[in-house]
Amino acid sequence: MARFATGRLLESLIVLGAMSFAVYVLIGLMPGDPIDLMISGNPRMTSEDAARLRALYGLDRPLVERYATWLLSALQGDFGYSRSYAQPVLDILLPRLGNTMILMGLSLAATLAIAIPLGVFAAVRPYSPADNAINLFCFAGISMPSFWLALLCIILFAVKLGWLPAGGMETVGGSGALDRLQHLIMPVAVLTVTNVGSFTRYMRASMIQTLRQDYIRTARAKGAGPSRLLVGHALQNALLPLITIVGLSFGNLFSGALITEIMFSWLGMGKLMYDAILGNDFNLALVGLLFATAATLIGNFLADIGQVAIDPRVTFAGREATQ
């Protein structure tokens, strides 16, 4: 177990390292130049001043050297400053990370709370009208462009009916738990609808597979009733593959959260990164992207470890063989 965990951790770190370089290079390729942006507000700057600044910030050195310098200070916890906020990047990022976690966590909880019963319900009566209706609903969710669904929700609930706020985290001035809750409803709902379809389908497939197994037949032969059969015998095993799916879907979930945050002006990581990319705040974009990557890798890692820890059938050698 410990060896497996160390190996997977090492693997994740390698991926994170490779990503940090790739993202560093990419951010360097974004339009605009940090020094140009810096001196654009100051007409008295000469080109000699610009060159001096360039040397001061090390921008005249080769890419790999700049990356090494950046990495070294990042490893010591110094991620630099944000241009547009004039604050250390971490001070801006961490509260935003918390907001994204709230959004993603609530949505994931809602998704599972809907997907698991719905998937089981469909699996027990395959190809029945109810199963077909659930399947249709799943496909609709998977095919739904989340930004359009968000727009429709805003049109219906904010513009036409006026029931819910169109965006933001809380009403300016007035606040309180209820107000924050109202602001959460639409973002969480939109994110949930776009994710619940695939989870339900996974749950259904996993349950159908489990119900075909011999031990279920044995339990039935021994007189276990339908509810005991499902909840007591089948559900536990059918849920196992879902752990992996949840772990692998963190990246996807983050992408969905990004759109949702932009649509509803939810002050999370996704919106922060998007604004940073569009606003030429290179450092903030770089660190934000790396944090998002690290968060997804941690999610994957935990799911892998969880799978091995919970399911005695999954051996460490077995994971290598099955892809």
Binding site: F147, W148, L151, G251, N252
Partner: protein, 303 residues
């Protein structure tokens, strides 16, 4: 299974199984209609006597009329024409990027699965990483990259069609991995079979074995995965276009039409309906089509 069913040719059986998937058949028809409509965009434009990209501020947000069957948008442009041109972009980008991804993915999957070893392990690790990454932020950064800094000459980097090519390239960059994984798995399984061993024993070159013996057997999963991926690609393209990083105006795409609609959402919410509905219907149709093909092409499926 009756003797009659056994004697039928496999292609017949596939067709019958596909036709039984009513949603997939309906999807195929829907896509055919949408495709034809998108292709006929210039004809419709000429028949109506309008220019899809020409703004007319006196005709802003008109209700449907004889001259403009679906009304006009926030700049007075004909909504129907823009929807049709947008369909060309979405369907075109979806098809082309999916086909590129399938070709590259098949090649990588074949080579990795057949040769094994370090190349295979490296590929699978890359694959794992790509699946796990937060894709959309990465796509956004890639879409924002300044092509001039990559050494693309300015006339090319600033041409009107560049956003189209760029989006195809970006999506292909991340799109090959599903097909590669499927083809690799199929190749690994086939490599152990007698007919492949016989071919090896006969001294057939590896390239020929991959091309003539393995590839034809791995085609079904590739077709299914490619069909399903078109839906995903259209979603990504419209999302990027919506965020202002994909297809650039004045050219229409379903995504960027929604960007503009969002700005007038308080006065004319109707403008947000059509482009989104078309994205939704198209993506859903490709998903159902893929589902139907999966049922039809699975050789292990019983009638």
């Amino acid at each position: 299974m009756s003797a009659a069913a056994l004697s039928q040719r496999p292609s017949r059986r596939m067709l019958r199984r596909f036709l039984r998937h009513r949603l997939a058949v309906a999807s195929l028809l829907t896509l055919a209609v949408l495709g034809l409509a998108a292709l006929s965009a210039p004809l419709v434009e000429r028949a109506l006597g309008v220019d899809a990209n020409a703004a007319d501020l006196f005709l802003r947000m008109q209700p449907p009329s004889a001259a403009h069957p679906l009304g006009t948008d926030e700049l007075g442009r004909d909504l129907l024409c823009r929807l049709l041109y947008g369909g060309r972009v979405s369907l075109g980008v979806g098809l082309i990027a999916a086909i590129f991804s399938a070709i590259i993915g098949t090649a990588i999957g074949l080579v990795a699965g057949y040769s094994g070893g370090i190349a295979d392990r490296l590929l699978m690790r890359i694959n794992d990483a790509v699946i796990a990454l937060p894709l959309l932020p990465l796509l956004i950064v890639l879409a924002a990259v300044d092509l001039g800094k990559l050494g693309v000459p300015p006339p090319v980097a600033q041409s009107e069609d560049i956003s189209l090519y760029r989006i195809v390239v970006i999506i292909t960059l991340f799109g090959w991995n599903t097909v590669a994984r499927l083809v690799r798995a199929e190749t690994l399984a086939l490599r152990q079979r007698e007919f492949i061993r016989a071919a090896v024993a006969l001294g057939t070159a590896p390239r020929s074995i991959m091309w003539r013996h393995i590839l034809p057997n791995a085609v079904s999963p590739v077709i299914v995965a490619t069909t399903l991926s078109i839906g995903h690609i259209i979603l990504f393209e419209s999302t990027l276009s919506f965020l202002g990083l994909g297809i650039q105006p004045p050219a229409a795409s379903w995504g960027n039409m929604l960007t503009n609609a969002q700005e007038v959402i308080w006065s004319t919410p109707e403008l947000a309906i059509w482009p989104g509905l078309l994205i939704f219907v198209t993506v859903m149709a490709f998903n159902f089509l893929g589902d139907g093909l999966q049922d039809a092409l699975d050789p292990r499926a019983l009638d």
